[in-house]
Structure formats: C-alpha cells, structure tokens
Symmetry: C2
C-alpha cells in the first residue's frame, strides 16, 4: 500500500496527515478537506453520510488503496458508508484506535470525552468505555473547532472557552480529545489542569489514528507526496492548510464543484 | 404584500424576522435557515451563489411576494442572483438600507465595519462609504457568528474575541455591524467602548433591513404567522431557533434534502 486517502470536514485532519507522513515519508497521501461543508460537528447524520459517500468515491477514483477518516464526527455516523464504498479496501476510522488503546491499557478514571455535538450525541465513546467498566463523562465542545480554524490556539477567547467546557466536564483523570483538531489545544489544556494541581492523562484520537494508519505501511521506495483537494478552495483555507501542514500547499482543482 | 420570504445562513436572520413581525404582526413570514451550509462567512462566492439561487426559488414557490436577504454575506455576493430568480418581485438586501442611512445622515468618523470574511473581502461597505467621503476601517470578525450560534452572548470567550477584534480595528466613532447576527452582541460592544471612554455610534444592518422591509407593508387583515424551514433540521438548531425567535418553533419538512 503506497497511496492512502484521508479526509476531514476541513483542515484539522492535516494534523493526522502530517503525523503519518513524518513516520512514513514514502507514502503518497491524498487529502480531501470538505471545506464547503465545514463544520461537520453540528450537521445531521443524514447530511454527513451523503458527504462521506461522495468523498470516499472520489478518493478511490483518485487511486487511494486505503481510507483514513480523519474526523471523529464522520467516523461516528458514517463509517459503514465509507466501508461500503471502499468495498474491501482498508478503512481506518478515528474512533477504533482509541477504543483499542483503552482495551490494551487500563487508564485512570473518570474518563472525560470532549468532541463536537454529533460525535458526543452518538455516545460511541461513552457506551464503549462504559462497557469496559470505565466511569465516563461526555461533553460537546462545539466552539473549539471554529477557534482552531481561526488560528487562535493560544488566545484568551480559547482559554475562556476551555475553562467553561472543562469546568462543566468536572474532575477527570483521563481526557479523550475526540476531535482530530484538538491536539493543537494540548498546551492550553495541560495548563488548565496544571494550575488546578490535577494530573490528567490526555489521549489524542488524531495521534492514535495516525499510528493505526502507519502500522501496515512499509517505508520503502522513493519519497512520497501530499495531494490536497478542498471542496471550497477559499484563499483563507489555503493559507490555513499550509499552516497546519507546516509548509506551503496548493489545492488541486476538483473535477466539478460539489 | 402579505407574504415575505426571508433567509439566512442559519438562525441569525430570525432576529431581523422578529423585528419585522413586531412592527408588522399581520404579515406571513416564510423563513429559510440554510443550516446545512452554515457558516456562510468563509464560503466562496461561487458556492454561496448556488445556495442563494435554490433558496430564493424555494421561497417563491412557497408563495413569497418579496425576498429579504437577512445575511450580509449573501447580500455581498449574490444579490443579483436573488433578483434574477425573483424576476421583478421586490428583493431587500442587508447592505443597501445601511448605505441609504449613511447617505441620509452624516455620521461621525472614522467608521468601522465588522463582518464575516466574505462580506469584508467584498469591500462593498468600504468602497461605498469611502465614496461618500468617510474614513473607513474594515475588519473580518469570523468567530462572532459561531460564538453567537453557541448562545455565548455574554461569555468571557466572546468578550475576549471582541477585545481582540475591536482593538485591531482601532479607534472609530461609528461602528457598522455588517452581519445580521451581531445585534446580540451590542451590550458587550457598548461595554467595551464605555470602559475606554469612547463614544461610538452603533449601526445595526439587521435593524435597518427590518425597517426597509416593513416600510411598504400594510398592517391590515388577520394575525400573520412564521413558517420555518431548516436545510438541516438538527435538534440543536431547532432549540436555538426558538431562542432567537423568542417562542417555540418547529421547522416544516423540506420537499427534498438539499
């Protein structure tokens, strides 16, 4: 497998893509950012399933030999759609690697889970972790994606939003970042808990997804590439994509506007 | 004219709708909230023109005898599309009533204009006000819509975001709220300027649009109604719509998902 398709509602999934590429630089990554439908977090499952169907079709037509759903919201409501379209090709969703990690390690509880409205309302994390015997607290934190997509990863507004959300969540010993955007907020989250003298283990679904994608990939052949498509190639998104990826990116034209 | 169609990217336009209905309670309002494509502010003009075309068609098919574009972003990039589809029916956009107000009154300067990325990038306010001889400062303030749609109209995160944006805007004597959501932030904006001892006149495009729509409407006949459609009728949007409108609302089903 050399060509991996990855997609997200917007640009947050590029963080996962970067981690994959840092560990497996000889892979070709095909990334689709569905910026025309951003944010996914407050869309209904029916809408999202339609988007996922089209995107997976597109990535496979573009040559993807495996599909990574770098978005918890899409993973929560449309993994079966992705699998159906992928017709036997491997599909990695953003949720299973984290649940596998919880099965393999006993983590301190209570476990907090933060994500978008749709992810949290699916109760996929809450239900699975409860079945493993964990005490779980789930909270939707819908403003974090817009704050990150504004680039305000250290801004007082983001600190204030986190303070409200994490206070509402209450005491936890493990915190699951159930959104692939949230790794950019780890410094602020750590500071919040440090100031309160709380020792909280942070589990990043984006990083565990990246590791799951990397594990079957070999690291041979010539240097790979990143191909980027944006369903709405607005200049603002292009600038932000370059920032998330770490070097200048230019999206490829799409065959037809979706 | 008894039936007025109004639309917005989401629910912010309901503030305009409520003002119209408070002054003309015998009008039937047909409101379309395009929650499936929220937010409009960072979409490209080509995307937005497609959405506006479909929505105006839908509202006219539903019996609208005039169309109010209760969204500055859509007004900035697609008023010609709305007019073309409306084929002679009156179309009110969110920008012209404010420009007319500036023509009729000499307001203190510099004039600040805040709105979404797409509205500000259109420079429609900046150019028109400059031509009237005003010194104008424009600034995109893209997080304000997500903060309002979260209901955080008094939250420290919103205060922090406003502080950053209004500081970046710099000294102004008049501030144009070039987004129909922003009236909900007037208390925080007033407080920001009051604390700095600055006397700033606030111009709300949402209110001036409501007044423009009201002026040709008569107030006779029986009590009117509000009919609501949401392109994504997520429970969260339904709850928020009721809050913006001031009493419980339930969206009508759409003929087909858009």
């Amino acid at each position: 497998m050399r060509r991996i398709g990855l997609f997200d509602s917007g640009l947050g999934g590029l963080i996962t893509a970067r981690w994959v590429w840092m560990r497996r630089p000889k892979v070709d990554l095909l990334y689709y950012g569905d910026t025309a439908h951003l944010p996914y977090g407050d869309k209904s499952p029916a809408q999202l399933r339609g988007y996922v169907r089209e995107i997976v079709r597109f990535l496979i037509a573009a040559g993807a030999e495996g599909i990574g759903i770098a978005c918890n919201t899409a993973s929560a409501v449309a993994v079966d759609v992705a699998q159906e379209v992928a017709a036997g090709l491997p599909v990695w969703d953003a949720i299973q690697p984290t649940l596998a990690y919880f099965r393999a390690h006993r983590l301190p509880e209570p476990v907090g889970v933060i994500g978008t409205y749709t992810t949290i309302r699916s109760h996929l994390y809450g239900r699975a972790l409860s079945q493993m015997g964990y005490t779980v607290k789930e909270l939707a934190t819908p403003l974090l994606v817009p704050l990150i997509e504004e680039g305000w990863t250290k801004h007082p507004a983001t600190r204030a939003a986190l303070r409200t959300y994490l206070t509402e969540l209450g005491e936890v010993r493990t915190l699951v970042l159930a959104c692939t955007h949230y790794p950019l907020l780890v410094p602020l989250i750590r500071r919040y808990y440090l100031r309160r003298g709380q020792d909280v283990k942070i589990i990043s679904t984006a990083r565990l997804l990246a590791e799951a994608i990397c594990s079957p990939l070999t690291d041979s052949g010539q240097k790979g590439s990143l191909t980027l498509w944006l369903s709405d190639p607005n200049p603002r998104f292009i600038a932000l994509a370059s920032r998330f990826w770490g070097s200048p990116l230019r999206p490829m034209p799409l065959p037809c506007p979706s």
